[in-house]
């Protein structure tokens, strides 16, 4: 190499270094700032309330691949073929009020969050460990404990008083709630490390149309976008963050009263036109589903055929015309529209319905069920438990398929669509990712510096 060549290379290197420096600075997260989030619902509600995972931690957590990772528990082991589990707590973890995380506090929290119908039958503290016991095996307990339902909250402070606000060990702590805005500040002593933003402002119960206006006007950083509006949001060049399918739109059918006959329930399942729901109402943002778990999660969803067969439905009805069936839709917007469409489908099959009936126990309920875990067995077990079918599911595809097939053959839950969660972001939000259940991982998000 000649000297001239060497000098040229040196200059080029300097130039490249100069060009690279700003790029490197832009990818490095910045501490500080207030991230403004808007949500339609209650931030604390189960499941998937947005504030729960920001303030509270579970004993375990799941990575994107569905593997169980340590959280407040550092390790765990099962005994007696899964009938007994021992979780050892992470040392040195403190609640936001400074009180230490103890096994007694963990047991009290879990007892408060799950007073009955729990996966376990007994729970106790044993030194630095929490012991779960059950008469039935609990093969999916570590994964289930990662769910929102079993996040650990302080139930009694060190002074023996009930905390006025939710107190946990998460990356953010509650600082106030006024005018519908929940304020959270960064937990500097979080065992996972301090989050990048200083504060979060969660504006609750905000209408979707107002959220859209706030985002466009720069008054919000993260808003919710219903799946059916995602196409329109893209056309408006909004920055979207969409999850894989993490929600199941399902029709729940009562197996008592006029629909006690399984043939009638099967006829209802055959009458629903899923493609109209997916392609038109949800604007092709949902996936037609005949299984509880999406194909990407279970790998066997293609074995469930989502066919509509009106003639077969009428044949199964066998000339029986049930009375007008109370039909409740839990949700608004596209869900109400889907409910109307299903009512039309059912009327074609000879099932009159009474949409949005005030009946306390409607025969038909249309609702969205969360697919909370990336672990199929744990998800199935949780869905079964929601439908009074608390059978444990072994963690292997054959057992999962068998359990799901058996459950769906009862025709009490008819899967219709798998839907993603979609958020729209302002350009100043950086590094915002989603958890495996589609919730926002705000602890690792940061904000661009103001110009």
């Amino acid at each position: 190499m000649s000297r001239r060549t060497a000098i040229s290379c040196l200059l080029l290197a300097i130039l490249l270094a100069g060009l690279a420096a700003p790029a490197a600075a832009r990818t490095r997260p910045r501490y500080g700032g207030t991230l403004r989030i808007e949500t339609v619902g209650d931030p604390w509600q189960l499941p998937s309330g947005i504030a729960r995972r920001l303030v509270l931690d579970g004993l375990t957590t799941l990575d994107a691949a569905g593997n169980v990772r340590p959280a407040l528990a550092t390790d765990w082991q099962s005994e007696n073929a899964g009938h007994r589990w021992i979780f050892r707590l992470r040392p040195g973890v403190r609640f936001h009020d400074g009180s230490p995380l103890t096994t007694i506090a963990v047991v009290a929290s879990l007892n408060a969050s799950c007073p009955s119908d729990c996966p376990w039958t007994s729970l106790r503290a044993s030194g630095a460990a929490v012991v779960f016991s059950s008469d039935a095996p609990m093969p999916n307990l570590p994964a289930l404990l990662a769910g929102d339902e079993f996040l650990i909250a302080l139930t009694l402070s060190s002074e023996g008083k009930t905390p006025t606000a939710a107190t946990g060990t998460g990356p953010f702590q509650v600082t106030g709630f006024s005018n519908g805005v929940l304020s959270l500040s960064a937990n500097d002593t979080c065992w996972q490390g301090r989050p990048f933003v200083d504060t979060l402002e969660i504006r609750t119960r905000r209408a979707l149309s107002d959220q859209r206006l706030d985002l466009v006007a720069g008054r919000a950083d993260v808003i919710e976008v219903p799946a059916e509006d995602a196409r329109q949001a893209r056309q408006q060049h909004l920055l979207l963050l969409a999850s894989p399918p993490v929600q199941l739109l399902a029709l729940e059918i009562a197996d008592s009263g006029p629909l006690a006959n399984p043939n009638l329930r099967a006829a209802i399942a055959l009458a629903v036109d899923r493609s109209a729901l997916a392609n038109v109402i949800f604007q092709k943002e949902g996936q037609v589903a005949a299984s509880l778990l999406p194909q990407s999660l279970s790998g066997y969803a293609f074995l469930f055929a989502p066919e509509r067969d009106l003639a077969r439905a009428q044949q199964l009805r066998g000339g029986i015309t049930p009375p007008s069936l109370p039909f409740r839709v839990e949700g608004d917007g596209a869900l109400q529209l889907a409910g109307q469409r299903i009512a039309l489908n059912l009327r074609e099959a000879g099932f009159p319905t009474q949409l949005n009936s005030a009946a306390s126990h409607p025969d038909l309920v249309l609702r969205i069920l969360p697919i909370e875990f990336p672990a199929p067995a744990a998800t199935l077990e949780q869905l079964f438990r929601r439908n009074d079918h608390p059978d444990p599911v072994e963690d292997n595809p054959a057992a999962e398929y068998k359990a799901e097939r058996g459950f769906l053959d009862r025709k009490t839950v008819v899967p219709l669509l798998h839907l993603p969660r979609v958020y729209a972001l302002s350009p100043r939000v950086r590094d915002l990712a989603l958890h495996a259940d589609g919730s926002l991982d705000l602890a690792n998000a940061s904000l661009e510096a103001s110009p």
Binding site: A276, V280, Q340, L355
Partner: protein, 591 residues
């Protein structure tokens, strides 16, 4: 009913009938006027409704025309036809309907299926036949809604010209409460619209929730059911009087006007109810006046009838009372004679008649009395003549016997004195009978058993009777109480029995019987003698009449007198050669 009452009734009925006739005429006329007014108001409203309907039709057509020509609709139709995708336009109808201020809007794709529906968003993909009416005038249509109900609307269809095959817009406005509220209803007029589907035509399935007026649901809606059903079934305007409440003024004259689709099917019924409160109030007012007039008229009729009575009916009533007295035997009656009218003439004639009757009766009594005396004299002469003749013969024999020897004279004398004594005794008997008849005592009534009286008579006369006479008695076992004087009754029956014995000189059967009737006791005395002729039967109870050679003719007269004094009757049944039966009826003794 007296003449006074008749007059009162007649006058009252006349007044009431006259008032009722006038009231009925006035009420009929008023009802006719009100009905004519209702018809005119209904006809006026119908024409106004048609104008409002046309006006709304024009509005709908203009809105749809404007919408179909808009750049937004043309772009949408073009992209839809080019891409072949309808799903991105699911919510387009809602925003376009809002833009055009339409209640209903559907976008129908080239295949005739709904792409987007503002009123029923879930109905996408379903066929909409109304799209075939593109270009036609506005029309009525019942539109199904998501909650299962249906709404009536005024629709128009227009194609969006930018694309081939055409995409259609079907838009419309509701015919609802606000539409009804905008209609120009006259005071007292209520406009309703019944828009339930045809399946709810029958009164049993009448849906009150589908029957509304400008201010909400129609009250007492079920009362309209039959009228609405009639209008739907006939397809013609129908009118009826409906009672809309418990009170009369809550009724209304209701006209049901069917609203039809282009195919002629009745989609809804417009009701025009005109309150009859004014008519009912007028009718009630007139009725009240009629009642007052009738009451006054009847009062006047009473006064007038009293006056008429005083002038006319009172003399007639006096005449009637006098006539009744004459009928009862009191002929000495006179009525006042006032005035010169027919009633006065009648009164004078009546007085003359009673005077003549009284005089004639006096003359008759006088002549009867003379006849009675003559008869008495004749009987006395006859009765006394019979014993006098032997007396005369005996006295003459005694005179002639003075010429005989003392022995013969004594023999004649003894025989003559016996004869004289006998005849004198006979004269005494005759005189005693006459004396008894004149001194018939009043009966001393007591309770006696008729059977006992009959048995007593039998036991008295049976032993003394000839052997050829057979006594029979027919008596019931139950007692037969009589209120009678036992001695007089015994005497009467004894007379009958003696007569019966006399009537059977050759023997026969004498039957004594008694039996109770309803309120009477019947006693029969029957013989099997020669019997009586009808003439004898007629005169049998006449005093001094006898069929016997030595009878006085007073026996049966005494019997009749006794029976009459006891409040009873006596009769005879007889025919020649068949015996005679005397039948006595006497009242039973009170229990």
């Amino acid at each position: 009913m007296s003449l006074r009452q008749k007059l009162l009734l007649l006058l009252s009925l006349t007044v009431a009938a006259a008032v009722a006739a006038v009231a009925w005429t006035v009420l009929t006329r008023i009802r006719h006027v009100f009905e004519q007014r209702d018809q005119e108001e209904t006809a006026l409203f119908v024409s106004q409704f048609q104008r409002e309907f046309q006006h709304r039709s024009a509005e709908v057509i203009e809105s749809i025309d404007h919408l179909a020509a808009s750049e937004r609709a043309r772009s949408m139709a073009f992209e839809m036809v080019q891409s072949g995708d309808a799903w991105p336009y699911l919510k387009e109808a809602q925003s376009l309907a809002q833009l055009a201020q339409l209640d209903f809007l559907e976008i129908v794709g080239p295949d005739g299926n709904v792409v987007s529906s503002a009123q029923f968003p879930a109905r996408f993909g379903y066929a909409e036949p109304a799209a075939a009416r593109a270009g036609a005038d506005a029309f009525l249509k019942r539109e199904e809604l998501p909650d299962g109900s249906a709404a009536l609307g005024l629709f128009a269809v227009r194609p969006i010209r930018s694309a081939e095959p055409a995409v259609h817009l079907i838009g419309g406005k509701k015919l609802d409460q606000s539409f009804l509220a905008d209609l120009p209803a006259a005071p007292g007029m209520t406009i309703g619209l019944y828009a339930a589907d045809a399946g709810k035509d029958s009164p049993a399935l009448f849906d009150p929730a589908s029957f509304y007026q400008g201010g909400g649901l129609v009250p007492n809606a079920p009362r309209y059911a039959s009228l609405i059903q009639a209008a739907r079934q006939t397809g013609r305007q129908t009118t009826a009087i409906l009672s809309l409440g418990s009170r009369g003024e809550e009724s209304a004259s209701v006209t049901a006007i069917p609203l039809k689709s282009n195919s002629g099917a009745v989609l809804a019924v417009l009701t025009v109810a005109i309150s009859r409160a004014g008519l009912v109030a007028a009718q009630q007012h007139i009725r009240a006046i009629a009642y007052a007039v009738a009451s006054g008229g009847i009062l006047l009729a009473i006064i007038f009838s009293l006056w008429i009575t005083a002038r006319v009916s009172h003399p007639i009533e006096q005449l009637a009372r006098a006539a009744e007295e004459v009928a009862e035997g009191n002929w000495d009656v006179h009525v006042p004679e006032r005035g010169r009218d027919e009633v006065a003439v009648l009164a004078r004639s009546f007085n003359r008649m009673t005077t003549e009757l009284t005089a004639q009766r006096e003359r008759l009594v006088q002549s009867e009395r003379v006849a009675a005396w003559r008869e008495l004299a004749r009987r006395l002469a006859h009765e006394l003549k019979n014993p006098l003749f032997p007396l005369q013969i005996t006295v003459e024999n005694l005179v002639r016997a003075r010429a005989l020897s003392p022995a013969e004279f004594n023999e004649v004398f003894d025989e003559s004195t016996r004869t004289l004594s006998m005849e004198i005794a006979n004269l005494k008997t005759i005189i005693g009978r006459f004396s008894d008849f004149s001194k018939m005592p009043r009966p001393q009534l007591e309770s006696v058993d008729a059977a006992a009286v009959v048995q007593r008579v039998r036991s008295l006369y049976e032993p003394a009777a000839d052997a050829g006479i057979v006594f029979q008695t027919e008596l019931p076992r139950d007692p037969m109480p009589l209120s009678a004087d036992p001695e007089l009754l015994h005497r009467a029956l004894s007379n009958l029995v003696l007569n019966a014995i006399d009537a059977m000189p050759s023997g026969g059967t004498l039957t004594l019987s008694a039996k109770p009737l309803d309120t009477l006791i019947e006693i029969r005395v029957a013989d099997t003698g020669e019997g009586l002729t009808p003439e004898e039967c007629e005169r049998l109870f006449t005093p001094y009449y006898t069929t016997k050679q030595h009878g006085t003719g007073l026996g049966l007269a005494v019997v009749q007198s006794v029976i009459a004094d006891h409040g009873g009757t006596i009769a005879v049944e007889s025919a020649p050669s068949r015996g005679a039966t005397f039948i006595i009826t006497l009242p039973k003794a009170p229990a």
